[in-house]
């Protein structure tokens, strides 16, 4: 998770807090809301396991960004990803140039996986 995403999560949490809690500052309300969030998380995970299509909607699908020396431009542009982002992930793996990469995949958790050329080919 990037620092920006980290801040965003707390920011959205803060914004929704007032509307969800309102004037009710009781422990009963706090427990109920925590249990409701935990139950919703469990239900969501169960439904993802039960129905493949539901999992696709919630988590999305991995997307190939680079395939054997060719950018998937439609995927790149619609996912708002630049070649610099792929290279940043490549450098993280110790790779220096694009020709050292066989595949770059945008994973469901928004991270970019790099398959080096020696392993992919």
């Amino acid at each position: 998770m990037t620092p920006f995403e980290y801040v965003l999560i707390f920011f959205i949490g803060g914004l929704t807090l007032t509307a969800m809690v309102g004037d009710d500052r009781s422990i009963a309300n706090a427990y109920s809301q925590i249990i409701a969030v935990a139950a919703a998380h469990f239900a969501l995970t169960w439904m993802k396991k039960r129905w493949y299509r539901f999992g696709l909607i919630v988590d999305g699908t991995p997307l190939v960004l680079l395939e054997k020396g060719k950018w998937r431009t439609e995927t790149m542009s619609k996912s708002l990803i630049q070649d610099d982002d792929v290279m940043a992930s490549a450098r993280d793996k110790g790779l220096e140039r694009l020709d050292q990469i066989d595949y770059a995949v945008l994973e469901r958790n928004s991270e970019i996986s790099i398959i080096p050329a020696s392993k992919g080919s």
Partner: protein, 178 residues
């Protein structure tokens, strides 16, 4: 000790170029991008409604109403938000003043639905009856106004009626959004 259930590994994740198992579903993703485009239109529409005030607290939410004889001019918010403070201002014309008193009758929706918290200035008397509240203020000739601090506690469309003796009823509709 009972053994754990196991099952053989199946190579079920679709591969790219028969090499890496990614499980990419481009057909789904293209439908999702189309859905995202529609969703953006919807989100931008909500933002536009909010900026213009159609979701409350903006230019289009503000309303003004007055009696034909000018006894009352009311500035209020046609679109209110649940539990959000606002001010309803009533300016009185010369014909509203009678024997040094201003008498204002309001329907009980002012308190029950629109959550009137305070009246500024404090009335000399407030009396319940006729399905509402009657406020009596001491007043001298000249421009005068009364403010009600509202904090609506009921969601929905509410009807508010205001009256000063000798003038017509002023009927206002106020929508309270969640």
């Amino acid at each position: 000790m009972p053994s754990l259930r196991t099952s053989p590994v199946e190579d079920s994740v679709p591969r790219i170029n028969n090499e890496i198992a990614v499980g990419e579903d481009l057909e789904f993703q293209r439908r999702w991008w189309r859905f995202e485009n529609i969703l953006w239109i919807f989100l931008v529409a909500i933002l536009a409604l909010d900026v213009t005030g159609l979701l409350g607290r903006g230019y289009l939410a503000k309303g003004t109403a007055q009696t034909k004889d000018g006894a009352m001019v009311v500035k209020y918010e046609r679109i209110e938000r649940f539990k959000t403070p606002s001010i309803l201002t009533i300016q009185f014309g010369p014909s509203a003043l009678q024997n040094g008193k201003l008498i204002l009758w309001t329907s009980d929706s002012l308190v029950k639905d629109l959550g009137a918290q305070r009246v500024i200035p404090q009335p000399e008397a407030s009396v319940i009856g006729e399905g509402g509240l009657r406020y009596v203020f001491d007043a001298t000739p000249g421009p005068s106004s009364v403010q009600f601090a509202l904090e609506p506690g009921k969601i929905g469309l509410h009807h508010l009626t205001l009256r000063v003796p000798g003038s017509e009823d002023l009927k206002l509709d106020v929508a309270v959004l969640p």
